[in-house]
Symmetry: C2
Subunit: 366 residues, 2 copies
């Protein structure tokens, strides 16, 4: 006897798991990684105040979280100088991306992104039946003009751009993003993924009022705040757009411990500043390791560095596989010509030491 | 300037927030509740081992959770005597309900449930454009035969039944559920919500093999295991159906601390047994309080008791409002004739003391 059939859109989606996590790789190798440098996690860790908040909240885990994340949302509004109505808290940027796509995209609607940009966004677009149109990177950065041009050509409802970019670490000055808004087609929203914005230079942050109806910005506690495992992020946008999430979101979906930890993390801006400095130092160290091994570190405004191997995707993939054998988890861009690079997440010195020792051995074997 | 338009299905959904949480009510009243008896949370709390696991895991919150929840899934498979391929871990039953509806229901597809059953399921069906058909409760219980009959009439793709039931606490013997499976229309799935199953008598649990393609069962760590705030639950079903979730779920969406806490909670079956005994005692106490106030406690196989006020919905609603004024958070069924009842969650004695003192005052004022 067969199971009842899936709805047409899910029935047409790939059955394979799109994203392999480091734990899965560890089980395959039979050993844990000595250095976890592949998922742009923040090994400098969350604020000790956030860790204490989690432990404090643990005994209250029997209570559902506040469905409106009120305390956190008001604290964030204050921190960002926006209204609480400009903010929705969600289960990380990944969760918010899914909700936004569902809110905006009907089957067959056109969506524009860059070829090689964040695959989870593409996963959600396909998952809701949207039609993805991809423009190439230009000089290892997403190409705002090309994105807007394509949006006009295909009548896009949604344009995705990450600033700073993942996986390349590149960024645009804020005014370039602002200019995009004026050039968007009618009835088209810019989705500005700012997951890495805390690491970026100040002038990479566009000056956009939270009430601007043409754009939604997404940010997270996963990266600079070091809370990836808690799944908590937020979107900033026009109140009417933010209100749309209330129609479809899982109202009690945000973890109570995540709410408490994010609030504590937000309140410890000193720790955040220290982490940003640690990440900057780690970027420099990764650059030194790269050059010592004949690679070129690309400029980065994030907590990772793309290293240009100077060769092709096959070569880069063999480095990723070789490092996995050596106990170093990294990832790399998925499409040419970006895939000439490997991508290394910033981490404390001990983990970069492991990389510095393993990389020459891997290259010697190739 | 207006925001870009929503996709047609979300555009047609209600803009209001469907579920008001107790924190929202507390902010409206300007005071915290003295007794939190409205959301069927488990005030006896999670296992101390789970609390310790949360504190231990807090320092690792910078790492994403394992995308396949491997350790927990294998432990659950062992505990339930099913294969790991029969299980998917998700962000609570609420999250899994949304994914299942999305997986099975195309816009316009028919779905059958009971009038007054779990509203979050209805929310997801509407959210994906499904057409809900409701059959009435019969003797304060969901009516399996009527559900199946309606499923045939409307060509349903999905039938929802909770056993034990929320909000009434009633239940059917397992063989009644098993008989439903044989009577389902072709290409129709039974969604069996077993969120409260740990509280139920053994013969209320149907004997269904995990590979049965006609049914998916959903369970949670929110209720008996006392981890509502962590958002972690699971579904049991045929491997082909379970594999469908891989096409659409948020692969890194399950909280790392929730994974650790759920595993520890599962391993402390002694605590679970104690909680189940505490809940049974609290049900008896709620019954005593009810009778002392001229109400009739309905039999319950859950961690809450529906109290028949002997009057109508307006009367019951005024009790809910009156108790809120007194600092007691409860809820009640949403539709007649169920709404002659109020619903009280089991809780430690101190909270039931608050109820016992407040209820006569509320009734005296009505």
């Amino acid at each position: 006897m067969k199971i009842p059939s899936f709805a047409p859109i899910p029935a047409g989606l790939p059955a394979t798991v799109p994203f392999t996590g480091p734990e899965t790789l560890q089980r395959r190798r039979g050993r844990d990684f000595a250095a976890r440098l592949g998922a742009n996690e923040n090994g400098f860790g969350p604020s000790p105040m956030a860790v204490a908040a989690m432990a404090d909240e643990a005994a209250l885990a029997w209570q559902y979280g506040d469905s409106s994340s009120h305390t956190l949302r008001y604290a964030l509004a204050d921190h960002l100088d926006v209204a609480p109505e400009n903010l929705v808290i969600g289960e990380g940027v990944d969760g918010l991306l899914g909700l936004l796509v569902r809110l905006m995209i009907a089957p067959g609607d056109a969506v524009v992104t860059s070829d090689g940009a964040y695959p989870t966004f593409n996963y959600h677009v396909a998952g809701f039946g949207g039609l993805l149109h991809k423009v190439p990177y230009r000089d290892d950065a997403e190409d705002p003009q090309a994105l807007v041009r394509r949006a006009h050509q295909v009548g896009a409802r949604l344009v995705y751009l990450a600033n700073p970019d993942n996986p390349m670490g590149s960024w645009h000055p804020g005014h370039v993003i602002q200019a995009m808004l004026d050039d968007l087609p009618p009835n088209c929203l810019l989705l500005l993924d700012e997951a890495y914005v805390e690491f970026a230079p100040e002038d990479a942050v566009p000056q956009i009022t939270a009430d601007d109806p043409r754009v939604i910005r997404m940010r997270t506690f996963s990266k600079a705040y070091g809370l990836a495992g808690l799944r908590i992020g937020y979107a900033i946008g026009h109140p009417d757009l933010i209100a749309g999430f209330e129609r479809i979101r899982n109202h009690f979906g945000v973890n109570r411990i995540a709410q408490a930890a994010a609030l504590a993390a937000l309140q410890d801006q000193g720790w955040l500043a220290d982490v940003i400095a640690d990440v900057a130092a780690a970027r420099d160290r990764i650059g030194i390791i790269a050059r010592a091994n004949g690679m070129t570190p690309l400029p980065s405004a994030t907590n990772f560095v793309a290293l240009d191997t100077g060769r092709d995707g096959d070569f880069a993939r063999s480095i990723v596989a070789g490092l996995e054998d050596e106990g170093v988890f990294i990832r790399m861009p998925g499409v040419a010509p970006l895939d000439r690079c490997i991508r290394i997440s910033c981490a404390p010195a001990a983990e970069l030491d492991v990389l510095a020792e393993a990389l020459p051995r891997v290259l010697a074997r190739l």
